[in-house]
Amino acid sequence: MENQKHNGQTPLVEMKDIQISFGGIKAVDKVSVDLYPGEVVGLLGHNGAGKSTLIKVLSGAYQKDGGEIYINGEKATINNPRDARSYNIETIYQTLALADNLDASSNLFLGRELMTSMGMVDDDSMEAETRKIMNRLNPNFEKFTAPVSALSGGQRQSVAIARAVYFNAKILIMDEPTAALGPHETQMVSDLIEKLKADGIGIFLISHDIHDVMKLCDRASVMKNGQLVGSVNVDDVTDDDLLSMIILGKNPSENKSA
């Protein structure tokens, strides 16, 4: 089924045998995942399974100890966040990675400021752009001039989402993007994911919400203790299958397909 779906296509991202350890602890141990254009791949696993660490290798926040990354079939070198951005990889971090003392637009454009013809930071244009995109993502958002420390958890998350979406990502990493969002805002993020998917963007979605994963993802990769339990087509499995993969580390596809 999976092979038919992606027949002949080169994966957008292929992470092969990724390894990284912190002081002897193997946080990610020979994990391989891939992602195709227009696809949402869910990353699941218990707390500390290594999900965030794995995607931080892709976003350039961590340097891998072993393994390879291919983007569009070509070997990619990602040593820092700037490298990742140059591959059009955008990330919504679990910690949001916002500078609390700066306002929403400064955060949105951090590292990629709009400049005036005089070479000065153009705060007014950045605020105007921020208003536009926030209008789309979270119309209730109004605190454009306050430092983001003055925002609620959900509002902060909206800023982080806006930042990842604004710069025309081809590969989008979302590490628990709706953890702090209300039901309405969560629905808007779901709609957003559907829309981005239709635009051919590939998305890694880390989530603890099995229902979200079942609803939004095409495939799911499950990790346990730094290792990959397996990757499955979401249509082929039930909630309970996924749960047992997460908790017991048992891969149902080993029985079903071979």
Binding site: S59, A61, A99, N101
Partner: protein, 420 residues
């Protein structure tokens, strides 16, 4: 009531912290003036105050960036002493031998040497902090001792004098001023620029469709700015040059000695401070470098994840501090006309205190250039005022120390109340 005040403040786009600082400054001035029987608020004393503030204030603007990025620089006083020695030796011993005594290029070459040394030493300390990840407290504590010792070695403890006569003008003595005509021109130009900048910013904001403060509010603000600038020029232009100094100056220039009174005008070190203040404000608010400084101070991890090279940024911030210390060394040594071993002693504490009183948070991420300069002015007013009243030196230290702690306490309380 509270609501109305906040709305009023947001109309004016002012934060209460700066109002509080200006209020504290006015209270200090009024109290000292009444205790000294009107000797504090005279053109003469305000002129001296402006000159005495310049050196520390120049360094305080750099210290804002250091502290905003969650570092500290304890070495600036010693570095100022060492750079003063280097520049003193350059202009009195080295360049006169090469170019001849009184050569017109001596002052500018000397300053270039000072700037290069200051920036290089600052960058070296920044490299140790950023790349070797040695805490800034330790690196600059080491620098504090190394530079003071090195300053001594340069001349084996001898005072260097006399300094180049053009160089000395930068210290702001009787001759080191703009004179009244030029001061008026500078004042009017500055006022015009301030008003024009306000208008342009207003136009740009409206063009983007943002809400702008009501016109009357910005009009009053612009009026205040013009009033302050022109008031300052007026006071500096009311400080008459003593007859003897006028005679000396005009005789040197081979001009006939005028009958009418001659006035000081703005002191050159103050002009330097104002230029530094404008440039540093632009850097902090309108450049990528400035934006990255604040982002790194607010959340270093987020800055890294946004692709900012925070290590290199640390090097640049310390290099800038070194350059500003060189400028401060020029002002301080030119003012004294000689360079002794103790030049800049305790300045690191004055500079840090000025930045902190001016609202720079030691936790990082927050601080303004104008705040630090106001902080320096408050500190200097306190010291000059107490000296004028005749307070003993030990008691002066006690008061300044207590004020520093109180100022930070007020700042923390203010931040907690406003949730910033």
């Amino acid at each position: 009531m509270e609501n109305r005040i906040t709305r009023l403040a947001s109309n004016f786009k002012i934060d209460f912290r700066i109002l509080g600082m200006i209020g504290a400054l006015i209270i200090l001035w009024v109290v000292f003036n009444s205790v000294t029987g009107g000797r504090f608020l005279t053109p003469r004393n305000l002129f001296n105050l402006s000159v005495q503030t310049a050196s520390v204030a120049v360094m305080a603007t750099g210290m804002v960036f250091i502290i905003v990025t969650r570092h500290i620089d304890l070495s600036v006083g010693s570095l100022l002493g060492m750079l003063g020695m280097i520049m003193g030796t350059t202009q009195t011993h080295i360049l006169p031998d090469l170019l001849g005594i009184g050569h017109p290029a001596i002052w500018i070459l000397t300053i270039s040497v000072g700037l290069v040394c200051g920036i290089a030493i600052g960058a070296l300390q920044g490299w140790a902090v950023g790349y070797l990840t040695i805490p800034a407290f330790i690196v600059t504590l080491g620098g504090f001792m190394v530079f003071r010792g090195s300053a001594w070695w340069i001349t084996h403890g001898q005072t260097v004098a006399p300094l180049d006569s053009t160089f000395k003008l930068l210290g702001g003595g009787a001759e080191g001023t703009l004179g009244s005509t030029l001061s008026w021109i500078v004042g009017i130009t500055a006022s015009l620029i301030a008003v024009i900048i306000m208008l342009i910013s207003r136009r740009k904001k409206s063009a983007h469709g943002f809400k702008v403060p009501p016109f009357w509010a910005e009009g009053i603000l612009a009026g205040c700015a013009v009033f302050l600038i022109m008031g300052f020029v007026w006071i500096m232009n009311s400080y008459q040059l003593p007859k003897g100094a006028v005679k000396r100056i005009y005789e040197v220039k081979d001009l006939p000695i005028p009958d009418h009174a001659i006035y000081h005008g703005i002191a050159i070190p103050v002009v330097i401070l104002l230029l530094v203040a404008i440039i540093m404000t632009v850097v902090s608010k309108r450049t990528r470098f400035g934006r990255y400084i604040y982002a790194t101070g607010g959340n270093p991890e987020a800055a890294e994840l946004s692709g900012i090279n925070t290590r290199l940024l640390t090097v640049k911030v310390f290099a800038l501090m070194g350059g500003l210390t060189a400028i401060a060394a020029v002002i301080a040594s030119a003012r004294l006309g000689s360079v002794g071993n103790d030049l800049g002693t305790l300045d690191e504490l004055r500079v840090i205190a000025a930045a902190v009183i001016g609202g720079t948070a030691l936790a990082g991420g927050a601080g303004t250039i104008y705040g630090a300069i106001l902080g320096a002015l408050i500190m200097q007013s306190l010291q000059s005022g107490m000296a004028m009243v005749g307070v003993d030196a030990p008691l002066q230290s006690i008061v300044v120390g207590l004020v520093l702690v109180l100022a930070v306490f007020l700042d923390i309380t203010y931040r907690r109340k406003t949730g910033q």
